[in-house]
Amino acid sequence: MILSKYPYLVQQEILHNMEYSDLFLLSFVSKRMKKLIQSSQMNRFKCIGSIVYQNDRTEQPCVHIPDKPFNKTIIKIVKHKKAKYNFQLNVCGRIIGFRLFTENRNGPYPVASFHPAEKQCVINSIHNHFLNLFGSSVEYHWRVQDFSNYYIPTIPKLQNVSFSLSLYLIRDFAHMRNLENFFSSSPVLKSLKLWTTKSLDPFNPESKFYQTESIEVQQLRHTFPDLLKYFQGKQAFISCGRCKILDLIEFVNKWKSGEGFRKLEYLEMKIVCHDVPENLILNGIGPKYIDATKQPPRHQVPKVNGFAVVQVRGRVIQCRFVGGARQGQMVLIPRIKLNYDFIMSRLQFSIRLSFAMTVNKSQGQTFEKIETIDDCEALWTK
């Protein structure tokens, strides 16, 4: 069978039926073949959207294209083991050992190996090959998710990649300086999730940490990191047991007046443990009352760590997490509409969750649905 004897349209159709991992390998067969892939599959590559480097603390990325029901794995990059590597490829000038691996759901995909000293170069070479093969329309994300103890990940220097991290600052966390250094030496992050318990010294107000585009924090008592003072990104999701209401009021007024937080588009504040003094907040931030008969404006958070708004009823919107650790879960967000004397867009402020009601007043009642937060053990063990 000689592929080159087929007409172009037939070749295109054949390549169209190949998995991304197979196209990746095919691109190494010859330069001409790589060109054929690039030209014939251009439209397909434009629809890819994003390619994700998924990491845990071992930092051996699994590169995939997010898809439903299963992600499409292109390649895994792992530390060299004694296992046999079947073939070597010249990836952007670097010789890398490969083998093929089959998982239950994921058809055979290539596994590339690196020696610890050469890890950076290997990942770089493979990434450059992706950039070259898939074209400039693809977004690249580097994600680190690890659900055990605190550790500081290493962030590789890669072209055109945005970084999303999840950090557990819960047990044994006492390396504030390290963490600050880590943020100042990394590129500005796309999104960051923090689980923290202890209250700690805040970061330097100028820290690059506060420039992160989207931050999600869970903490029993909201003290750290002081997002309400220094945040400069687009979205913040704060979930806490308690927080200083006065800080919150000061924050809203600053946001409203345009004095600070100019990039901020969305803030979600969940206060779980105590009743929020609604009147105090309303008095502090301006609006005289909440008109329960009016439909609040529909607001859809752009997908950094996104929600999708499912339903709007009265003062409550029902939302579903579309990404992240709580993907698929529902959440209810009541909203207070602010009244201004001047024109300003997107200043809705969601301030309290219906959780607050169920936690304190649930005795003896029956609920159709309840939601628990298991990250926050302290809340539920009391």
């Binding site: 087929y6 039926n17 055979p108 995909y109």
Partner: protein, 188 residues
């Protein structure tokens, strides 16, 4: 008259592939065409089955052959091997007037057969069969290393590609030189 026709068609089940078709649509008598490949073996195919092939469909829709004319003028496909054409005809008969299933597992497993089949199907413009064949060809290299892919699809190496290109250039250069020389000779 139509009743007698119906009677003959149901009473003569000599061609098992066409019998149910004519029973279902008795008003329009099925017309047949004849094709042959390299081996000159003539296959009788109904117009309904041939509709899969955009090429043949385009040819016959303008002809208006009678039965005798069709028999006397079989379509010659000299570039298609006899057994390959047999496969194509069988497929067209099997899928006559039916919605095609998403998978077709009856395709040949041998490389060379499949290769020829793809070329024939592409030439005859049978879109659905081409899609299945392409899927099958793509499956051949699933989970293979680049060197294995090179062997299966006989893809030349970069060095071979370059050499072929040089060769082509040389030839083109020679031809051009020959032409100019000839032109100069004519001028003299």
């Amino acid at each position: 008259m139509s009743s007698t026709e119906q009677g003959t068609s149901s009473a003569a089940p000599a061609e098992p592939t066409t019998a149910p078709e004519s029973a279902a649509a008795p008003e329009v008598p099925e017309s047949f065409y004849y094709v042959h490949g390299k081996d000159k073996v003539v296959h009788k195919v109904s117009a309904g089955a041939l509709q899969h092939s955009a090429l043949i469909h385009g040819m016959i829709s303008n002809l208006g052959y009678t039965e005798e004319q069709a028999k006397a003028n079989p379509f010659p496909f000299e570039n298609i091997d006899g057994d390959i054409l047999q496969m194509v005809v069988d497929w067209c008969n099997q899928h006559k007037g039916k919605p095609t299933p998403p998978e077709d597992t009856n395709l040949p497993k041998q490389k060379e057969k499949l290769f020829d089949l793809v070329l024939a199907v592409n030439y005859l413009e049978i879109k659905e069969l081409l899609t299945y064949c392409c899927k099958q060809v793509a499956m051949m290299v699933k989970g293979k290393s680049p060197e294995e892919i090179r062997e299966i699809w006989m893809i030349p190496t970069d060095a071979e590609d370059e050499a072929a290109e040089k060769e082509a250039k040389k030839r083109a250069g020679k031809e051009a030189a020959g032409e100019t020389a000839a032109a100069a000779g004519d001028a003299k």
